[in-house]
């Protein structure tokens, strides 16, 4: 089985801070990591390979530094890696991102594509379904359980109040949740190996036969960021310290009554 996993290198948003004056992100010193859902995707792919044989290929689109994320995936046990990197790709929205990635995936060839549900930086959860659309294959998103059954995948798909057990024929695309599994650690051999392997780097010219330059990058993206900003620092409320318990209860009761909450 030929499994492709799409991974994105993201800033650890738990450590991103906002400059309260300018409303800009302070990204200096914030570590870059493999997106959580995508790491679960790598683990799911490796498990499938262990079960039915085949290869696991990781693909990322990003700046040259994203090489680090691919090396980490190789060290976890993936077989090979592709970095899609070009000036023409910069500023792509999810439509354009999916267009570029899908073009590369077609060129590589696959039985199953695995993506994360959502990247913690852009937070859109759109790239997975949009890659599936460009590839013309069925998708199952929000995967919380995954098995192979011959030419079919059996996937449990999560909804808010229920789950569906779905059977889908390969080739297909699955978007998975971080909850799906516990990703394995890189092994020592894996780390040594990871730097011996080649990462294939594809730029615009490598894909241009099947890529419309008007549909990618900042100019080709249907959506644009009009304005970005931070939240306003909220006006301070009242903080009451060193009250007795009865005083504390009274202070809360006063507000409940004043606001007709009881």
């Amino acid at each position: 089985m030929k499994i492709l996993v799409c991974i994105k290198q993201v800033p650890d948003t738990a450590e991103v801070k906002l400059d309260p004056k300018t409303g800009r992100l302070i990204r200096e010193g914030v570590p870059s990591i493999i997106n959580h859902d995508d790491k679960a995707g790598i683990e799911a792919a490796l498990k499938l390979r262990d079960e039915v044989g085949g290869t696991v290929t990781v693909v990322t689109m990003g700046p040259p530094q994203a090489d680090v994320a691919l090396r980490e995936a190789l060290a976890m046990g993936c077989d090979d890696a592709y970095l899609l990197s070009a000036r023409e790709f910069g500023g792509s929205d999810t439509y354009a991102t999916a267009t570029i990635i899908a073009t590369a995936l077609k060129k590589i060839g696959f039985d199953v594509v695995i993506t994360g549900r959502q990247a913690i930086d852009g937070d859109t959860a759109q790239v997975g379904p949009q890659i599936a659309e460009q590839l013309g294959v069925p998708q199952v998103s929000y995967c919380e359980e995954l098995k192979v059954d011959g030419d079919y995948m059996i996937v449990r798909r999560q909804f808010e109040d229920q789950s569906h057990l779905l059977k889908v024929k390969t080739p297909c695309l699955i978007t998975c949740l971080a909850e799906l599994n516990e990703p394995r650690y890189m092994s020592v051999y894996g780390i040594v190996d990871a730097y011996k392997k080649d990462v294939t780097v594809w730029g615009f010219n490598d894909l241009k036969d099947n890529l419309n330059p008007d549909w990618i990058g900042l100019q080709g993206s249907p959506t644009n960021v009009f304005l970005s900003f931070g939240k306003k620092q909220k006006d301070a409320g009242t903080v009451l310290e060193n009250l007795s318990e009865d005083e504390a209860v009274q202070a809360i009761m006063d507000k409940l009554i004043e606001r007709h909450l009881i």
Binding site: G23, D123, T124, T223, V249, I252
Partner: protein, 361 residues
């Protein structure tokens, strides 16, 4: 000419979901700014009788697609049906709930139509003056009034505002060169409109040509979540607990208080991750977005991912040992103290107060 705002209604097991009414309510306001109409698109099986409800919540027209293949949500038949409708009627704007269904279907539809899609919006504007007011009063743009005031007030594109980077940043997205303008909108964020039982509107059945042959996945099993899911987004009052409650039994006093106040209990992610309380009670970025009349945060520090789900609450009270933690800063009223002592006493006081009211009558 693209015209009108279409709301793709979400139904599960034949029940129209609240987010669809919220979207219709919001669309009525936006359509007013544009001089356009609101059209609800209802997909399912044996669901025609739900169309009138959508009219009562503000849709002027409902397009109904009624097919056996649409009984349970699967991606391709829904995508194909909506794609057909958009091509046929050419709406200006199409909105979806940002639920696990909406976020599965909408990106694929946008891809098929080759247009833009904005994810998980928490605010929509047509009128630039409304948008400017929002920027100046609710965001860091208050420090940059020149930029805000220089915006082109004749701009009638949809300005779609959404959180990104885990709620650290807000971005307004536009889609100027492609039609329709599409967005998914976070449930619980837009106001629920008032129902008008006398409202009249047009109901049109549409044959989109979808059939069982479009089903490219097979549903082997539909499993409901065990107990009837409580919906904390519906609660007017939430008594919410975090690590500070100390354990699974730590939620009991909170439950007692919630019961007396006619509310529900919710939680930070810590309570859920520790297995102290059910996942569907989690508030925050990876939980639910709530905006109750009262959010009482007990032993919750107020991490940004938690705030992302509750900062729209009308009134926030925090009980916390640490007067400097972010939740105490966010709260309208912060009480420094031990929740284990204060919460039971508060419940007693509420009971006593209610008894007093009963006697007075």
């Amino acid at each position: 000419m693209s015209k009108d705002i279409f709301v793709v209604v979400e139904q599960r097991d034949g029940v129209v979901q609240k987010v669809s009414m919220e979207l219709i309510g919001e669309s009525v306001k936006l359509a007013g700014d544009l001089g356009e109409n609101v059209v609800a698109v209802l997909l399912g099986h044996n669901i025609k009788d739900k169309a009138q409800l959508l009219i009562e919540y503000g849709a002027s027209k409902v397009l109904v697609v009624d097919e056996p293949v649409l009984e349970h949500y699967t991606t391709e038949p829904y995508v194909k049906a909506v794609d057909y409708i958009v091509r046929k009627y050419e709406p200006n704007i199409v909105l979806f709930g940002a639920s696990s269904i909406g976020r599965d279907m909408a990106p694929r539809i946008a891809g098929r139509l080759h247009t833009g899609l904005t994810a998980d919006c928490t605010r929509l504007d047509i009128k630039v003056s409304n948008y400017q007011e929002y920027l100046l009063t609710k965001t860091s743009m208050e420090n940059n009034p020149d930029k805000v005031n220089s915006l082109d007030t004749s701009d009638t594109f949809l300005k779609m505002t959404r959180p990104a980077f885990g709620g650290n940043v807000m971005a307004t997205i536009v889609c100027r060169n492609y039609k329709p303008q599409m967005a998914t909108v976070r449930p619980g964020v837009m106001e629920m409109p008032v129902r008008n039982k006398d409202a009249k509107g047009e109901i049109e059945m549409v044959d989109t040509g979808v059939s069982m042959a479009d089903m490219n996945v097979e549903i082997l099993e539909v499993l409901p979540k065990k107990e009837k899911a409580v919906d904390i987004t519906e609660a007017k009052i939430l008594v919410s607990g975090g690590r500070g409650v100390g354990g699974p039994e730590g939620y009991d006093p909170l439950r007692a208080l919630a019961k007396e106040l006619g509310g529900e209990v919710s939680s930070s992610r810590i309570g859920v991750d520790n297995g102290w309380i059910e996942k569907d009670r989690q508030v925050g970025q990876t939980g639910k977005t709530v905006r109750p009349q009262l959010y009482l945060a007990c032993g919750i520090s107020g991490a940004i991912q938690h705030q992302a789900g509750m900062e729209g609450s009308e009134f926030i009270i925090a009980i916390n040992k640490d007067p400097l933690c972010p939740m105490m800063q966010l709260a309208d009223l912060g009480i420094q103290g031990d929740l284990k002592k204060i919460v039971p006493k508060l419940t007693e006081a509420v009971i006593k107060y209610k008894q007093g009211l009963a006697v007075d009558k």
